[in-house]
């Protein structure tokens, strides 16, 4: 038995058969990625150059290749620009806010004064693991203009009721608040890990030199956390560009399209009106935007490392 195994190991150890073995072991994963990722992406890319719609769904003769027409139509649609603006609003306000809240809580939880650290860590992490749909429904209750607890609390300090999800100017900030609350826990954990990697002797030396808390934070914590921060910002921005479930559940993109995001627009075009070709084109525009920002950040990250 033992001899056989040894013999078997020896045979596959020759280089060419080693690669073959690697391929054999990888093939299930590759097949899954190919069938469920690469193929659909290629199909969607092809689709984005056709006018696949409800008529085509009924009769495949009615598909036309339209070249870049879908992409041209996207640029010409005011609603796309509105959705793009909303998405950037969400990313540029919600992203930094989320990172700041994560960093703040991480600093507090990493402080030597903090007690019950793991309890708080768990509590702050809970929103991340709870189902977004359930959370969004609960927040819809919190935001209710007449019966919501938020407006009740505000009324206690004399602030008139706010129509959180009904006012076009407030709906997006309301969604941002919810999204930040939902997501900050994840980044917080990464920040805590980053903070724990900073050697204590740096702080001790600074302390001996008489540096204040603020000086220590500015001169030690921030620079030492740079790689972590770049990573967190990158992940957050990529995630936030794909804003969908929050407005889908809470506002359906309204009021006055003020919370329509790119992904929501794509979903509506694709599954509500079944303009699949057009929706696929929107998907690739979003892909290009996210790719652009990711490349910028990778360049930044590289410059941080060196």
């Amino acid at each position: 038995m033992k001899l056989e195994t040894q013999h078997f190991t020896q045979t596959i150890m020759t280089t060419s058969s080693r690669t073959t073995a690697a391929w054999i072991f990888l093939s299930p994963a590759l097949a899954v990625i190919g069938i469920f990722f690469v193929l659909p992406v290629l199909a969607a890319f092809t689709l984005s150059f056709t006018d696949f719609d409800i008529y085509a769904l009924g009769n495949w003769d009615y598909i036309r290749f339209v070249g870049f027409q879908n992409y041209i139509r996207i640029v010409e649609t005011p609603l796309f620009w509105k959705a793009l603006k909303n998405t950037f609003y969400f990313v540029l306000v919600g992203g930094p806010l989320s990172v700041a809240v994560s960093l703040g809580t991480a600093l507090m939880l990493n402080s030597k004064l903090a007690k019950f650290k793991s309890l708080y860590r768990t509590i702050y992490f809970l929103p991340v693991v709870s189902s977004l749909i359930a959370v969004a429904i609960i927040w819809r209750y919190l935001y209710h203009p007449a019966h919501g607890i938020l407006n009740y609390l505000l009324s206690q300090i004399g602030i008139a009721p706010i129509d959180w999800l009904g006012d076009p100017d407030i709906a997006m900030p309301a969604i941002i608040i919810m999204a930040v609350w939902k997501n900050f826990g994840y980044n917080m954990l990464i920040f805590i890990a980053g903070l724990q990697n900073i050697p204590d002797d740096l702080y001790e030396a600074a302390h001996l030199d008489g540096a204040s808390w603020w000086q220590q934070f500015k001169e030690i914590t921030i620079p030492m956390l740079k790689p972590t921060t770049v990573f967190v910002v990158m992940i957050t921005i990529i995630g936030y560009f794909q804003l969908f479930a929050e407005p889908y559940v809470m506002t359906q993109g309204g009021p006055l399209n003020s919370t329509t995001s790119i992904v929501l627009l794509m979903y509506e075009q694709g599954f509500r009106w079944w303009s699949m070709g057009y929706a696929a084109a929107i998907a690739f525009v979003l892909f290009a935007i996210i790719l652009f920002f990711t490349v910028i950040q990778m360049v930044l990250q590289r410059s941080v490392r060196h």
């Binding site: 006018d51 008529y55 129509d163 009904g166 006012d167 359906q252 009021p255 006055l256």
Partner: protein, 426 residues
């Protein structure tokens, strides 16, 4: 580990058991997808159906309205449509384009229970797509005016005004009387996020929303422009608020006299009865829409839902039995009692439960004059887009002429494929 294994065995065994159940038993299982609240309320009726038809079992699935359209289209694409489905009757053209609906004429012809001539003609028309009967109306819905009797009486109208010009006059008087008392009043609430009033008015001026075989927008045509101008008059003279922020709660606004007239559907009979304070309960009433021509009432929309059989169904006979049962006069009265949804069969309205409800009379009169909307798959998308333009004219962002012209260009983009198909056929 052992537990997991047992679980899997259990699942496999039960799947096998269900399988056996299907193949050996004589019971036919049909799938029925119901929408929203109705999907839930219909359960007792389904139980009764199963009691009367022991060989048929109905697997009921409820789908929320907000996701229904997507879900049905996706089901079609994935070839997993149910046997019987409930469709908003404005969706029928779309599913008919997909060639996914079983023609029901042969079934209806030989049926002793379904009598198409008893159905309100305007509603029946919405179910006939390219002269094929594609669905059987299950319950009907149209829009009428809810109004404050006392406020209109004070303005000199014992009966609800029958024409739009009278309504404008009444609005002027109501507003003047309110101002004299230093009160704010918007006599006729026409929400800026609804397309129904605009389309109803458009129909009264002659319809013609689209042209060239429904392949081009005609909203800038004479008829709709007139309708939009009339709608605009309500906003310009502040007979209706031009935003949605002022009226946060419709029922409070109605009770406070902030609004006196409002176009809405049958479900609000129940809501008004529940939410209007007791001392005002005798002061509200319903009336059919005012008219633009000599005929009264004015045209309104035939809405509501229909039951269809999907072509993929393997149990069409059983599916038809369920439709026959649910749309019968007897069961539609029963359904009215449970849900307040109005029966499509005119003879059902003679039943005491309907005849005794004074608020329902307006709906009966209105249903005698409803006209179908253009039967094209893009229609839903078009009217939802129209809401933005209602808002544009209400807020004064655009003039009526600018709005209808720009809307037409948008509609033409939506109808591009249809134009190509029409040209291809020629």
């Amino acid at each position: 580990m052992k537990n997991k294994f047992l679980n899997i065995v259990f699942i496999l065994v039960s799947v096998a058991a269900i399988r056996c159940d299907h193949s050996t038993d004589t019971v036919t299982v049909i799938k029925f997808w119901g929408l929203g609240n109705e999907g839930e309320m219909v359960v007792p009726l389904i139980k009764e159906f199963e009691r009367r038809n022991p060989t048929i079992k109905v697997e009921m699935q409820q789908i929320p309205w907000t996701a229904a359209h997507e879900k049905l289209l996706t089901a079609y694409a994935g070839e997993s449509t149910p046997d019987v489905g409930q469709l908003g009757n404005t969706w029928l053209p779309e599913f008919s384009v997909l060639n996914s609906l079983e023609p029901l004429d042969p079934f209806a012809r030989n049926s002793s229970m379904v009598d198409v001539n008893d159905i309100f003609p305007g509603v029946l028309k919405t179910n006939i797509i390219d002269s094929v009967l594609s669905g059987i109306p299950w319950y009907v819905d149209t829009r009428v005016v809810y109004y404050r009797k006392d406020i209109l009486q004070r303005a000199g109208y014992d009966e609800f005004p029958a024409t739009w010009s009278e309504v404008l006059k009444a609005s002027e008087t109501i507003q003047r009387q309110a101002k004299a008392k230093n009160k704010i009043c918007y006599p006729f609430f026409l929400p800026t996020n609804e397309w129904v009033p605009a389309i109803a008015l458009g129909m009264q001026f002659g319809g013609n929303f689209l042209k060239s075989k429904n392949s081009q927008g005609n909203f800038s045509g004479e008829q709709f422009t007139k309708a939009f101008t009339l709608l605009d008059e309500f906003y310009r003279k502040q007979y209706s608020p031009s935003g949605m922020q002022l009226i946060t709660n419709l029922y409070n606004a109605f009770s406070d006299g902030l609004i006196a007239m409002y176009i809405t559907g049958p479900w609000n009979i129940g809501e008004f009865t529940r939410r209007i304070p007791a001392h005002l309960q005798n002061e509200w009433m319903t009336a059919p829409l005012p008219t633009m021509d000599s005929l009264s009432p004015g045209t309104s929309l035939p809405l509501g839902t229909s039951l269809v059989i999907f072509k993929n169904s393997k149990h069409k006979e059983a599916a038809w039995k369920l439709i026959e049962f649910l749309t019968s006069v007897e069961q539609s009265i029963e359904f009215y009692k449970i849900t307040g949804n109005l029966p499509p069969r005119q003879s059902a309205w003679q039943d005491s439960s309907l005849a005794s409800n004074t608020y329902i009379k307006a709906f009966y009169r209105q249903l005698q004059r409803v006209d179908p909307l253009p039967q094209i798959p893009e229609w839903e998308q078009i009217v939802i887009r129209l809401q933005i333009y209602v808002e544009y004219i209400a807020t004064g962002t655009m003039t009526v002429d600018q709005a209808v012209k720009q809307f037409d260009t948008e509609v033409d983009v939506m109808l591009e494929k249809r134009r190509w198909l029409v040209e291809r056929e020629n």
